[in-house]
Subunit: 340 residues, 2 copies
């Protein structure tokens, strides 16, 4: 069983993006505009057709079985609109994920986005998280550590500002992938800078805190291989040591996991060499940030299964852990909702 823990719905029907566009345009024209819940029509055939030519085709071609599937990350846009548009937008996006998973119950398992908004307590996301997990069988969520869109105006993720949502995650027994969305700061390209910087930044925030003493069963996945972290593993071990912290594996590695969205063989080899195998989850983020074929390999950059298959750093047992065993451990609700 090969489970990709990080796939986004990047082949959504144009009706969905149109709804969002109109919602934001109305608000720009009239800041007192009250958005309405989506009245959204899209046939199953339309949904299927777009998935068949992309995510499903690639699953078959690459030999992956199941994708843990969430709304388009750059589309979350928590910094856009207002709190209410964020709620309606999130509901419709999550409902679409549920539809996809109902249409392809053996191919996709749902993870939700949350209706975050900068400056608004993450506690306000609890109703939607509960709806998704309790009523709709979602097994995790994407939590944006910077809802301001690369302005970084909210407190660090280790601040008590965030505790209400962590309490709920623990209670529901679901992990969070710490995944930012778009950038409204011209310094930060979204997929080429903001994503990787956020991954790096949250890891350092976690080193500085004792969050997991307070929430010992809380689980975070840091996407994109952890940003700069594995490449600078010595730096992080050294910084933590200089500060008198326990070793990183003791401090963080019961709670923090890295995915394999690293798009070349040497990167995956490094990841597997420095990060304990138990902390690595298979992921490709297809169809996502990089869509082309690497002329050096002849295969898609984001075909990360190939790198893991080929890695001399990972034993056969380690590959089983990365491809499925670790994923089951981090997503305790996964086995219960799997079909077929």
């Amino acid at each position: 069983m090969i489970i990709d823990c990080h796939g986004h719905y990047t082949t959504e029907p144009p009706q969905l993006t149109s709804y969002r566009k109109e919602q934001l345009q109305e608000l720009e024209i009239d800041s007192s505009f009250k958005p309405s819940a989506a009245n959204f029509k899209c046939s199953d055939d339309e949904i299927c057709e777009r998935l068949e030519g992309a995510q499903l085709k690639l699953q078959r071609e690459r030999g992956t079985d199941l994708t843990i599937f969430s709304p388009r990350a750059s589309g979350m846009g928590h910094h856009l609109g207002n709190e209410q548009t964020s709620i309606y937008w999130t509901i419709i996006c999550n409902n679409m994920i549920r539809r996809v998973c109902d249409l392809y119950p053996t191919n996709f398992v749902p993870v939700c986005q949350l209706p975050q908004y900068p400056g608004v307590s993450p506690a306000n996301c609890i109703p939607e998280l509960e709806r998704c997990v309790k009523e709709m069988g979602f097994i995790g969520c994407n939590l944006n550590p910077d809802p301001s869109g690369a302005m970084w105006t909210d407190p660090p993720i280790t601040d008590e500002w965030w505790f209400p949502i962590y309490e709920k995650l623990v209670e529901l027994n679901v992990p969070a992938m710490l995944h930012v969305s778009g950038s409204c700061n011209p310094n930060f390209h979204p997929t080429g800078a903001h994503y990787l910087c956020a991954d790096t930044t949250v890891f350092m925030q976690l080193i500085l805190s004792d969050l997991f003493k307070r929430f010992p069963s809380l689980k975070f996945i840091i996407p994109h291989g952890g940003g700069a972290v594995p490449f600078h593993w010595g730096r992080y071990r050294g910084i933590a040591q200089d500060m008198g912290c326990p070793p990183l594996d003791e401090l963080l590695l019961n709670n923090v996991f890295f995915d394999t969205c690293v798009y070349h063989q040497p990167g995956i080899d490094l990841l597997a060499k420095v990060i304990p195998i138990k902390n690595i989850l298979f992921a490709s983020e297809m169809v996502g940030a990089v869509r082309g074929i690497d002329p050096e390999s002849g295969f898609n950059y984001d075909d990360t299964k190939r790198y893991i298959d080929s890695s001399q750093e990972i034993s056969d047992q380690g590959k089983d852990q990365i491809f499925s065993e670790n994923v089951y451990l981090v997503f305790p609700r996964l086995k219960k909702v799997m079909k077929g």
Copy 2:
């Protein structure tokens, strides 16, 4: 000859930091305060004593010959005070670097900081850059791509906002290390997040521009091994390719260089595997971000010479390039100012 291209004066005498502290305190009490140029007394013996126990001791122990030496990076604090305090602070810091290099002309060669201030044109840094290079024999500068201190309020480094300083760098034939300073955003730990994020961010900015078409002889060093860039080299190659850019080596690698401030063997091995050897410059940033001894190796984390010596990825010829040949090429004024 082994040349460390990235050393900061982190053993400065307490009089220097006191001057800065007072300068900023006065300004806090009275925002109309006009700072005065430093009236700064410190004996040669005092300077020597502090260097002997740290940078010079480590040079001897590690077998490095020469350090390209600049003021403490976190001390630049371009976001603190105002434009005028930044000018006086920069002058005194650069003068101290000149003194150190006069005291130890075979151990240190000077690189300057610039009196940047957020929202103020980088053109205003030209007088100090010229003073350092033309009058005082400096061979390069540290240019802060985010003078706002992790608020990222100035334009990307590829914006014409920055062109006046690039024109001067080209005219003077000196490179810039793109090195941020402290962080006033609680989300970003300075050495554990802001530094690496900035390195990553500027590289992506460069991919998005044709800056080096306009400035074909401009040279940038991205410190800390380029942040997340080498670990995600496939991602960057893929993003550039998806955007229809030429390959990265053609687009950037005549102008962009990475240092070796990566504090573990697997990181250095990855760097040398994916980045062309001609683009790698030896550096340790000692005494700097990480001061401890790695229990896994028994040596200091920042003793990066060991990783290069031990790397199976680098030929003997490659090591010569990294340790000195590339450094001479990137710093054309280096050979002229070397003593002994």
